[in-house]
């Protein structure tokens, strides 16, 4: 006989203001099977949970319904409370009276009627719940970090230093990411590479970190604690175990005009190349699309000059299968391509540059050795205009969001320019100045007060290049209410921060969601910023949303902490929401086998005591089954059911609404 207890939460005012909770409790008390129904101010609180525990033991409840917030909030809380009182935690259901009811409806009568219905659905379901026991699976305590920028490096180091093994995969030939391209970082104006390269070296030499650069994730199978990941190590054509990084090869390469990705196209590189002098590993790869030997079977100068014999032109991509228990995605960001802005020249003019190009100009190890020079003619610009919000906060180009870092980046750029060209004029066109971090407001004030950067509040409507090579910038000064025209030698656009190209494909491989702008979705925007909806897959850095270096490092360490928490026990307890076959009625049509996305269903032979084959049926591997229920719906003989969402429960819910 069912003995169900129903607890309706006021959630302070959140539910009680709109829903008549006392009426819902008394309606619940009249439902068949319910022996106890009360309402209370905060059921998730200690006294609230104590109330539940007492009711469970005093009234010998066989099931529990809590009408409160979303189960995604507190289902675990109430399951734990029930378990502590001796009731199987899977005999607990929640009715979502807050997110799905009181927070979205204004009419008290309608909201209360809906609340009663939602509680009724939950009661019908819980009456048919079965006591379930968690499934235990072993965990492989090795982590995979995808992305070798500062986020990936930080996460890898944190995990490795705690004694766990890490595989760090990076798409380009060197780790370091965008931070390695920066000249200085705000607000300290620290030399970016000076603070980054020690970490890069540590990551490369740590005994627990296996570094795989020039590699990409090819495919993913499995689930939390037991991922099988295939990694493609791209053909380098250089044997890194022999290469010493001496540089004789790229000095001799005749293909010398390829625009360097690291230098944002401002300088050339060779076909056999090391991405930048401080690269880790400090060894070259051959760009197969441009190498004369690989495309035309001519040249081979690098191989001739290499006295270690490290270069061989017969190389192929290699696939590696690795077993990992957790994954951290740290793929970072790119800058938006401003050629969509015809008003700013559509990317046609060399002297209208983006943030990374300016960083390379300002960098002491960059193409101009740190002197700010116009890309077109190498002259030192006397007037530089900085345009904020290029692409950001612009629904017209599909980006309504703020890229968060550009106000600080632009202030930094303007200051660097003024530090190098003392008599130069720096003008910043802005909409708002967002400088919320520690020391950030003081930094912007310094740009204005100490370095004489001019801030003009207004947008730029047009930039065009005059015959004499000067750039005419037309904007507005909204604080005085006048249009402004500036003749500039160089224009720096603060392009929007967008996720890395190709990041969506990676997300799909891991079952991670992403929003309309392509940024990876966290499990909860406030309370679970580093987890995703895919168990065992975590996020770090700008791939989740635009952020600066301190936040990136924090998030990377947070992701590492989650990984280490997962690895802290040898076994993982899995939710027992798995499918089960009724072997009596199964006809072995194998539709379920084909439908299962995880390959969790197998053939199983039923034999008699003499070993004679009686029947072959389907059987579910509980370690692999993720509980989606697709097999249940495709089963033609209704032999498949899903614990936690059985046909009994689900049909009862659907039909009980009257």
């Amino acid at each position: 006989m069912a003995r169900i207890g129903v607890f309706i939460c006021h959630c302070g005012e959140n539910i009680a203001r709109t829903v008549d909770v006392a009426a819902v409790a008394s309606a619940a008390a009249r439902l068949p099977g319910v022996v106890h129904a009360v309402d209370y101010k905060y059921i998730c609180s200690d006294p609230g949970q104590q109330m539940i525990r007492k009711a469970v033991s005093d009234l010998r409840l066989t099931g529990l319904v809590v009408g409160a917030c979303s189960p995604r909030m507190h289902e675990a809380t109430f399951r734990r409370a029930a378990a502590e009182a001796g009731l199987n935690p899977y005999l607990v259901e929640m009715a979502n009276l807050r997110e799905h009811c009181s927070w979205v409806h204004a009419d008290r009568a309608a909201a209360t009627a809906k609340a009663v219905d939602l509680v009724r659905l939950a009661v019908e379901k819980v009456k048919r719940n079965r006591a379930l026991v968690p499934i235990r699976v072993p965990i492989e305590p090795t982590a995979l970090v995808v992305g070798g920028g500062i986020a990936g490096i930080q996460a890898a180091l944190d995990i490795a230093q705690a004694g766990r093994k890490v595989i760090l995969v990076e798409r380009s030939a060197s780790i370091g990411g965008h931070m390695a391209r920066l000249s200085e970082t705000f607000p300290t104006l620290d030399c970016s590479q000076c603070i980054l390269t020690p970490r890069m070296v540590e990551a490369a030499s740590h005994p627990n970190i296996m570094l795989m650069t020039y590699s990409e994730v090819e495919s993913v199978e499995g689930f939390v604690g037991n991922f099988q990941v295939t990694i493609r190590r791209k053909a380098k054509y250089v044997d890194w175990s022999k290469c010493t990084g001496c540089g004789d090869c790229w000095a001799k390469c005749p293909v010398q005009k390829i625009p360097s990705e690291f230098d944002a196209g401002l300088a050339p590189r060779t076909a056999i190349y090391r991405p930048f002098p401080q690269a880790v590993p400090s060894k070259p790869v051959i760009d197969a699309a441009h190498c004369l030997m690989l495309t035309k079977k001519k040249c081979g100068a690098c191989a001739k000059v290499c006295d270690r014999g490290a270069i061989h032109f017969e190389d192929a991509d290699e696939l590696f299968r690795v077993k990992v228990g957790a994954v951290v995605l740290a793929t970072g960001f790119d800058l938006w391509d401003h050629s969509a802005y015809g008003e700013y020249g559509g990317g046609r003019w060399a002297d209208v540059v983006d943030g990374f190009q300016f960083e390379r100009l300002a960098s002491a190890s960059g193409p101009t050795s740190g002197e700010i020079r116009r890309p077109s003619d190498g002259a030192v610009p006397q007037t530089v205009v900085f345009v904020q919000c290029c692409g950001s906060r612009d629904a017209k180009v599909g980006k309504a969001y703020c890229s968060k870092i550009c106000c600080m980046v632009t202030a930094k750029h303007a200051m660097l320019y003024k530090h190098k060209v003392h008599k130069g004029r720096a003008v910043v066109f802005y909409m708002d100045v967002r400088a919320g971090g520690k020391g950030y407001e003081e930094f912007v004030r310094r740009a204005v007060e100490s370095d004489g950067v001019e801030y003009v509040r207004g947008r730029v409507s047009r930039i065009y290049r005059r015959r004499d090579g000067r750039l005419i910038v037309r904007g507005a000064d909204t604080l005085v209410g006048k249009p402004v025209t500036i003749e500039a030698d160089l224009v720096v656009l603060a392009d929007a921060v967008v996720p890395r190209r190709g990041s969506e494909r990676l997300a799909r491989m891991f079952g991670v969601g992403y929003d309309a702008d392509g940024f990876y979705s966290e499990a909860h925007p406030k309370l679970r910023p580093v987890e995703t909806s895919a168990a065992g897959v975590f996020l770090a850095g700008a791939c989740q949303s635009p952020k600066d270096i301190p936040e990136t490092v924090s998030q990377a360490s947070a992701a590492a902490a989650k990984v280490l928490g997962l690895f802290s026990r040898p076994e993982l307890e899995r939710e027992p929401v798995v499918a089960r076959v009724n072997e009596n009625t199964c006809v072995h049509c194998r539709a379920c086998l084909a439908a299962c996305p995880y390959g969790a269903i197998e053939d199983y032979e039923i034999r008699d005591r003499q070993g004679r084959l009686l029947k072959v049926v389907a059987r579910v591997n509980e370690g692999l089954c993720q509980g989606c229920g697709t097999c249940v719906a495709v089963c033609r003989s209704k032999s498949m059911d899903l614990e936690g969402f059985t046909d009994d429960q689900v049909f009862a819910q659907v039909v009980t609404l009257e």
């Binding site: 929401v577 697709t630 719906a633 899903l642 659907v654």
Partner: protein
Amino acid sequence: MTEPERQLAEPSAAFEPRLVALVCTWCTYAGADLAGTSRLPYAPNVRIIQFPCTGRIDPLLVLKAFEGGADGVLVSGCHPGDCHYTSGNYHARRRWAIVRRLLEFTGIDSRRLYFSWVSAAEGRKFADLVNEITQAVRAAGPFEPANPARRRPWT
């Protein structure tokens, strides 16, 4: 008194459609949660039933929903390519292409059956969808099953 009985008793009361939404936990349920946390108002006519995946949803459930008193049914899950279980929503999509035609053939007005993709980030889309569907089903009127005696609650 049940809702249809009440409406019969008060013929002047405006018809309020009863909608059942069969949604997946990971996307649409979360999207509805987001509509809640963002306080986006929508019509109170919908009752949400949670499933792990739209792939779990049997077409028979839709028929039972109409039998049980629903005037309109919404099935909603993750966008193609984003299913939390990789492919459950593809199975659902294939299923509905046929079920929709079958239900139309049996005489169920196509204004009563909806199939959509709502992701966990689309709170506004969920709210707008519920409002849109409520309006359409209100225009279609109460659902009259062929055999009214079958409309009984499950005990």
